[in-house]
């Protein structure tokens, strides 16, 4: 079965991202497919490479990036929500004059439009929302 996941909250502050990650792993363990994971609202903050959690704590961005690498997941960060909250890829950082090296999108995440959220609602058998 084709699953998609919507993550509405950032890492650490709410459990949403942790729950979504555990759910994603279980979906894959059960032999299902993950069509896409979409990050909206503060959820876009899961995709910043600048987080430095305490050494004895989990690194949620890395967990997402690693899961994406291992299973060729499509992790999409909403562009409008990301701009509001300061998550930019190289093109965005350049366009908005944020300076060389300012792009903070993490490996395995890509920035795209809200259409990707609607599309995953159309293309997936199941869509599960994690939020506050």
């Amino acid at each position: 079965m084709k699953f998609s996941i919507l993550v509405n909250e950032g890492p650490y502050t709410h459990q949403s991202s942790d729950s979504a990650l555990q759910f994603a792993r279980a979906v894959l363990d059960k032999g299902h497919e993950i069509y896409r994971v979409f990050f909206y609202h503060d959820g876009v903050n899961n995709g910043t490479r600048l987080t430095v959690p305490p050494v004895d704590d989990r690194n949620l961005q890395k967990r997402w990036s690693e899961l994406a690498a291992a299973h060729a997941l499509d992790l999409v960060v909403c562009i409008a929500a990301a701009q509001r909250r300061g998550v930019l890829d190289e093109g965005e950082a350049k366009r908005h004059g944020k300076g060389e090296g300012a792009a903070n999108i993490a490996p395995g995440f890509r920035i795209s439009g809200l259409g990707q959220l609607i599309e995953m609602g159309i293309q997936s058998d199941r869509l599960v929302v994690f939020g506050d």
């Binding site: 699953f3 979906v27 599960v128 929302v129 994690f130 939020g131 506050d132």
Partner: protein
């Protein structure tokens, strides 16, 4: 329909609203702080017990354990599931709705 509730029933009115809108035969899955609704003898336990005649209740085991709720403190008839069981519940129901 599978309803997913992640809020404490003591802090917000979310579970009550979910119960008010669930149809006979629906399933409710309690996750995150939502699992507190499964504690026996609380101020919302009666509402949960009453709703059991209409809907089935499931609660995410890892979230129950994280919060220190002992298995014997759970309301009878609330089924504990792991993340795999969460996936199965979603798969079994054509639609699901997160009560955020």
């Amino acid at each position: 329909m599978l309803h997913i509730v992640n809020k404490s029933p003591f802090q917000t009115s979310t579970l009550q609203s979910c119960l008010d809108h669930a149809l006979a035969g629906d399933a409710i899955l309690l996750i995150e702080d939502g699992v507190y609704a499964a504690i026996r003898g609380s101020a919302v336990a009666a509402a949960v017990t009453e709703a059991k005649g209409k809907v089935t209740f499931h609660a995410l085991g890892p979230d129950i354990a994280a919060r220190g709720i002992a298995p014997e403190k759970l309301i009878d008839g609330v089924t504990s599931v792991d993340y795999g069981g969460f996936v199965d519940l979603v798969a079994e129901h054509q639609t699901n709705q997160a009560w955020l």
